[in-house]
Symmetry: C2
C-alpha cells in the first residue's frame, strides 16, 4: 500500500500543463467523484489529501493515486471539496468551514438549494462557501470506478452569491478547469430548477413510462422499436440514488411534474373528444411545441444545427460497423452522430448516421458505390 | 419514362430467391410504403401493378421500378395491398373487395381496429380481408424515398379472425416474408393496444416533455445530457401524421394516457409530502418498477440479456470512431450496442459501448493498452 506516498510529487507528469489550482486541496468523501477529483488534480501535480468515514475507502482511493490520507499535523488546506452523499452535505460543509477557517469550501452535490438553505438556516457564515455541481454522468461506483478524466467536457455548475469573494470563486473554478470541465455559473435556485427540468423530470417520466411495460404482454413488447428504447433507457437508473436526489430537489420536481401532468390531461381530453371545437388543433399544437422544444437541445458542440440522417444496413457481425465507419472516414464524410438499432429476430442492424445536409447526397452515393445498402 | 415497362420481367435478378408470393399483386397508394412493397416484390420477380389518386405519384413509383401502372384490361389481381393514409383505408379496402371479388385484400395502416370496425359496421363481407401493419420506421417520404429493403428485419403484424381462410392469410404472410419482415400475429384489438403502449404513448410523452423545454432558459438547456436527448428524440416527429395516428387509436391512447397520468400524480403526491407514512417507499417502488419495465424490452435479437457498458473517450475528428470500432473488431470484441455523446463546448466525444459482461474487463484492458481512454 502506498497510501502515504505523496508530496513532493512529479510535477506535470506525462506532459500535463501546469495546474491552475493552488493546493493543498482536501477532499472529504473518497467515492467516485471525490476520488476522481483527487486523481485529476494529482495528475496536474496538485497536493491532495483525502478523508472518508470508511478507512477502507480512503485507503483504496489513496492506493489508486487520488491523494494521500490526511494526517493530523498536515497544514490547513487552501480548498476543501465535500464529495459526500447529498443528505449529509450541509453537515460536512459546516464542519469544514469551522475546522479550516482560512479555507474555501465547495461541495459537489447534485442539488444546490437544499444544502445552501440548511446552512443559512443554521446561521453559518457562508463567505468562504461556493457550491458546485460537476455533471459527470455516472454517480455510482465508489473509488474503484474513479477516473482522472471523469469530468472532461462535462458541464460543471458553480453557484456563488454577492458575498462570494473573487478569490474563492476563482479557486473552485480552477479545479473545474484543471479537470477539463465546462464552467457554468448559476444561482442555487437556477441550478435546481434547471437540473429539475433537464434531468429530474425526464428521469421520473422515463421511469413511469417503463413501469407501464411491467404488465404488458410479450407480443406487445415484441413490437418495441427505437422510440420506446430511447424514451425508457434512463429508467434503468438506481432507484435509491434517485429517491435521494428527487427528495432533495422536491420543490422544483413537484412543480415540473404538476405542469407536465397538466399538459398530459389537456392532451388526453382533446383526444378523448375530438369533436369539440379546436380539439385537433390543440393536439397538433402540443405536438408542434414538442418539435420546437427538442430543436432547442444542443447537438454537437453546443450548436442546435440539425443534421440529415442516413440509415445504413449492416450485417450483424463483429467489425462490420467498424468497417463502415472507417470507410466513411476514407470518404472524408464527418459523422455528426450515430445510433444503432437491432431488428428483433433478424441478423441485421441499422446504423443511423447524422451528417451535414450538404454532404448527405454524396455520402449516400459513395456508400452505395462501395456496396452498402442505405434506406 | 418506362412506366409501362413490366411483364415479363427478369425473374430472380441479382440472385434473389424465388418469391413465396404468387401475383399479380395490385398496390393502391404508391407512397413510401406502397412503392417500397412494389420494389421489393419486383426484385423477387412478382408481377406488381400500381394505382394512386395522383397520376404523378403512380408514374414516379413506376419509374422507380415499383411495378407498372394498372391498365383497364389487366386480369384481376390475386392480392390487393391498400397503402393509403389511415383515414381513407376503410373506404379503399371496401372498394377493392367489391371490385376484385376473387382477390385477397390487405392494408398497411398503422392502426387496425378503426378500419376493421368501420368495415364491419358497413356490413362488408370481410372473408377475404386480412389487415396488416409493417412497422417500418419512417412513414414519411413518398415514392421518392421508397426502398426494396424498407421492411427487412422489421416486425410485420398480421391480423386475422376465425373466418380468415388459410390461403388468404398465407398470401399476406408470403408478402411479409418475401420482403424480409418478421411476422407477428395479433387481433386488431391486441395490435392497437400494443402499438398504443410501445409507440403512441411514448410519442405523446416525449412530445410533451420536449414541449416543456420551449420556455426554458438557455442556461438550463445547456445542462442537457444524454438522458434528455434520449427521452425527447422522437418529439421531432411530424405532428400532422401523429394527429391522424393518435386520432385513429384514440381509445387505447386515452386509456394509456389516463393510467400514466395516474402514476404521475401518485408520484408527485408522494414527493410533495415525503413525511406521510410510506411516501419514500412509494417513490422507490415506482422507480424500481421502471427498472423492471425497461428490462423487458428486447435488446439484440429479441433477447433481454443485459450488457455491460464501457465508455471510451474519442477525439472528435473524422475516422476516430471508425478506428476505435475497427480495433474492437481486431480484438475480437463484439459490440452489442453503441451510443455516442458529444460534450457541450468540448472537442471530445464519448462512445458508450455495450458488450457481454464476461468480456468487459478484457475489453477495457485491451483498449487501454492500445492507448484509448476509458471511463
Amino acid at each position: 500500500m502506498n497510501a502515504d506516498s505523496g508530496f513532493p510529487v512529479e510535477e506535470r507528469s506525462n506532459g500535463a500543463l501546469a495546474a491552475r489550482t493552488h493546493g493543498p486541496v482536501h477532499v472529504i468523501g473518497a467515492g467516485l467523484l471525490g476520488a476522481s477529483i483527487g486523481l485529476g488534480l494529482r495528475e496536474r501535480g496538485v497536493e491532495v489529501t483525502l478523508e472518508d468515514l470508511s478507512p477502507t475507502t480512503v485507503a483504496l482511493a489513496a492506493d489508486y493515486g487520488a491523494g494521500r490520507v490526511r494526517a493530523a499535523d498536515d497544514p490547513d488546506p487552501a480548498l476543501v471539496i465535500v464529495a459526500t452523499p447529498p443528505d449529509v452535505t450541509a453537515d460536512v460543509v459546516e464542519r469544514a468551514l469551522t475546522r479550516y477557517p482560512g479555507a474555501v469550501v465547495t461541495d459537489v452535490a447534485s442539488v444546490k438549494l437544499a444544502p445552501f438553505t440548511e446552512l443559512t438556516r443554521r446561521g453559518v457564515d457562508l463567505t468562504n462557501y461556493v457550491g458546485s455541481h460537476p455533471m459527470a454522468g455516472r454517480e455510482r461506483g465508489g473509488a474503484i470506478m474513479a477516473r482522472a478524466d471523469l469530468f472532461v467536457g462535462r458541464p460543471w455548475v458553480v453557484c456563488r452569491d454577492h458575498e462570494t469573494p473573487a478569490a474563492a470563486l476563482a479557486l473552485v473554478e480552477a479545479v473545474a478547469l484543471d479537470l477539463g470541465a465546462v464552467l457554468i455559473e448559476m444561482t442555487p435556485q437556477e441550478h435546481d430548477r434547471s437540473v429539475g427540468l433537464v434531468s429530474h423530470l425526464p428521469q421520473v417520466v422515463s421511469s413511469l413510462l417503463a413501469a407501464r411495460l411491467v404488465p404488458a404482454t410479450e407480443q406487445a413488447i415484441g413490437l418495441a422499436g427505437g422510440g420506446l428504447r430511447d424514451t425508457t433507457r434512463i429508467a434503468s437508473s438506481d432507484p435509491e440514488l434517485w429517491v435521494q436526489i428527487l427528495g432533495a430537489n422536491r420543490e422544483s420536481v413537484v412543480e415540473l411534474l404538476d405542469a407536465f401532468t397538466g399538459d398530459l390531461v389537456a392532451f388526453a381530453d382533446a383526444l378523448r373528444d375530438p369533436g369539440q371545437p379546436g380539439a385537433r388543433r390543440r393536439i397538433a399544437d402540443l405536438l408542434s411545441a414538442g418539435n420546437s422544444g427538442v430543436a432547442r437541445i444542443p447537438g454537437k458542440h453546443g450548436s442546435s444545427e440539425r443534421f440529415t440522417s442516413i440509415t445504413v444496413l449492416i450485417d450483424d457481425t463483429p467489425g462490420e460497423l467498424g468497417r463502415l465507419l472507417t470507410e466513411l472516414g476514407e470518404l472524408g464524410i464527418n459523422m455528426e452522430d450515430l445510433r444503432l438499432e437491432h431488428s428483433p429476430g433478424a441478423q441485421i442492424g441499422f446504423a443511423e448516421i447524422a451528417v451535414l445536409p450538404e454532404v448527405a447526397e454524396r455520402a449516400v452515393a459513395d456508400l452505395v458505390e462501395r456496396g452498402w445498402r442505405t434506406l
